[in-house]
């Protein structure tokens, strides 16, 4: 399997009033045309890893890597124009905060159409149709109504799916999905996963699936990276998640509320300072 993405020793840090925050501290992995899960504690650097690959790190932050390459293109030395062209067309990211990432003053449908136009020359009617089809594909019940709604007029899960539709409409080769289904009810969640699954299986898309839902990740992905305090602490085959070695991963598995199990209070992690070394 040829690598679609190579990440070697990626680091992201932010200067703040109270010192430098090292959000990502030496992350390395390669991705083929597969489903890679990233799980990890809140604040462990999952989103910042995705953003760095996309080129969406805030300007005042520092990004370094020994190598950050997409399909042979060195991303860190690529001219801004090339990166912009890649972004949205060949590499797309579903951001964690759908409402924040959508433009509040433009209707959902228009945003999808505009995204499509940025990457393809298609007529108005064709673009509208593609946008409606995409909304239907992400299981929006009434695409024609939702097409004309503004972000504040849709529910949390609808906003999330609108964002997914927008990212998929241009047919990316690499999709970074940051908690793409966390606001969805379980039945819709599975339908959205099936869509992503098909894109990987049929179109050979590479997928980085960031989630805190271990159960979901282990049933969906091929491989899982576990992050803690800006580093990868464990890599496991998804089917083998139950045999995780790192105490953080084991702890994560143990502290989920399970239907039918009556555990009050839930077990919590006893975080050890050495995990963050």
């Amino acid at each position: 399997m040829s690598a679609l993405l190579t990440v070697e020793d990626l680091r992201v840090s932010f200067p703040t009033r109270t010192g430098v925050v090292e959000a990502v501290r030496g992350v390395s992995f390669t991705l083929g045309r597969e489903r890679l899960g990233i799980v990890g504690e809140s604040g462990s650097g999952k989103s910042q890893t995705g953003r760095a690959i996309m080129g969406l790190t805030p300007p005042h932050a520092q990004v370094t890597a020994k190598r950050l390459a997409f399909d042979g293109i060195d991303l860190l030395s690529a001219p801004p124009k090339l990166r912009r062209d890649l972004r949205g067309k060949r590499i797309a990211m579903i951001l964690q905060d759908p409402k924040y990432s959508l433009n509040p003053v433009m209707s959902i449908g228009k945003q999808i159409v505009e995204t499509l136009w940025r990457h393809e020359k298609v007529g108005r009617a064709e673009a509208r149709k593609r946008a409606l089809d995409m909304l239907a594909a992400v299981q929006i019940r009434d695409p024609a109504r939702v097409f004309d709604l503004y972000p504040h007029e849709v529910s949390g899960g609808m906003g999330q799916r609108a964002m997914i539709a927008m990212m998929l409409v241009a047919g990316p080769e690499l999709l970074i999905a940051d908690e793409p289904t966390s606001a969805l009810d379980v039945t819709v969640q599975l339908e959205v996963l099936s869509i992503l699954d098909r894109l990987v299986a049929e179109r050979g898309m590479g997928l980085i699936f960031v989630s805190h839902d271990l159960r979901l990740v282990s049933s969906f992905c091929d491989r899982v990276l576990v992050m803690y305090a800006g580093r990868i602490v464990e890599e496991i085959a998804a089917s083998d998640l139950a045999n995780a070695r790192h105490p953080y991963t084991q702890g994560l598995l143990n502290c989920m509320p399970v239907i039918g199990a009556d555990r009050h209070p839930l077990p919590v992690l006893d975080r050890k300072p050495e995990w963050a070394l």
Binding site: E41, S42, S47, D97, L190, H212, L216, F220, P257
Partner: protein
């Protein structure tokens, strides 16, 4: 009408779309009540209507024995009822530090001792004092949600409206936040109305729940019944099946 929160035949209509269609729920004092159901089924709308943030076109809302009309809510209402929104980024002010956002409700309600309360609230949700002077965009998704929870708790309300309070959190922080919510509920005799799409979370936190679909409450049942499979509606049964995780359809 015996509930602390009682919603009777409530409808919310946008243009000619019925986001909420004659929905009723009744929540007793100290109870923890769950709302589950399909995306877009009106769960957030129900919570927002109680908070005066969504226009009710028919039906009645009573909270703590008083009927709430229109979208005006008195200061005392916000002291007693706090809401944690589904979208933490949207509910935090982007240009204000965490400190300022936690201070604001205290100032509005004339509560002193801000310094101590803020440090305590941040500590309760597992954020160290290092986060106090940051802005929302300098936090991760889960950290923002914890700030939103801290802000709701800082006024020591008696009713919490929780809209997917932990869906942005990883399992370890979720466990901490759920334990915290259970503990404050017990200690302060709080009443919860909680939306979650995670049946594991809902059955863990709530005694009873309502299942919503297309603006309507289609089923009310106890968590115990749900867990035992004593389910009336097919839709509820589908939710249970889907909770078991992703299954690749083999061609």
């Amino acid at each position: 009408m015996t509930g602390v929160v009682s919603v009777e035949n409530l409808s919310v209509v946008y243009d000619d779309f019925r986001a909420l269609d004659t929905a009723s729920v009744e929540i007793g004092a100290g109870e923890s009540f769950g709302l589950v159901g399909e995306s877009g089924s009106g769960k957030s709308t129900l919570l927002r209507a109680i908070a005066g943030l969504a226009p009710a076109s028919e039906g009645a809302i009573h909270v703590l024995g008083r009927e709430l009309r229109g979208s005006r809510r008195e200061k005392a209402f916000y002291r007693a009822v706090q809401m944690v929104f589904q979208d933490p980024y949207g509910s935090l002010h982007p240009r204000q530090t965490i400190d300022r956002q936690l201070m604001e409700p205290l100032a509005i309600h004339g509560i002193g001792d801000g310094e101590r309360r803020i440090l305590k609230a941040l500590d309760e949700v597992g954020l160290g004092s290092g986060f106090r002077f940051r802005y929302p965009h300098q936090l991760s998704g889960g950290q923002r949600q914890r700030v939103a929870i801290a802000r709701a708790l800082i006024l020591e309300p008696s009713i919490l409206l929780l809209d997917e309070p932990t869906s942005a959190l990883d399992a370890s922080v979720q466990a901490e936040v759920l334990n915290l919510l259970e503990q404050v509920r017990r200690d302060r005799k709080l009443t919860f109305l909680m939306v979650s799409h995670d049946l594991g979370v809902v059955t863990h936190m709530c005694d009873r729940l309502a299942v919503m679909q297309a603006g309507r409450v289609v089923e009310r049942l106890s968590s115990a019944d749900l867990v035992a499979g004593r389910i009336g509606e097919d839709y509820t049964r589908n939710l249970m099946v889907a909770s078991k995780g992703f299954r690749r359809k083999t061609a």
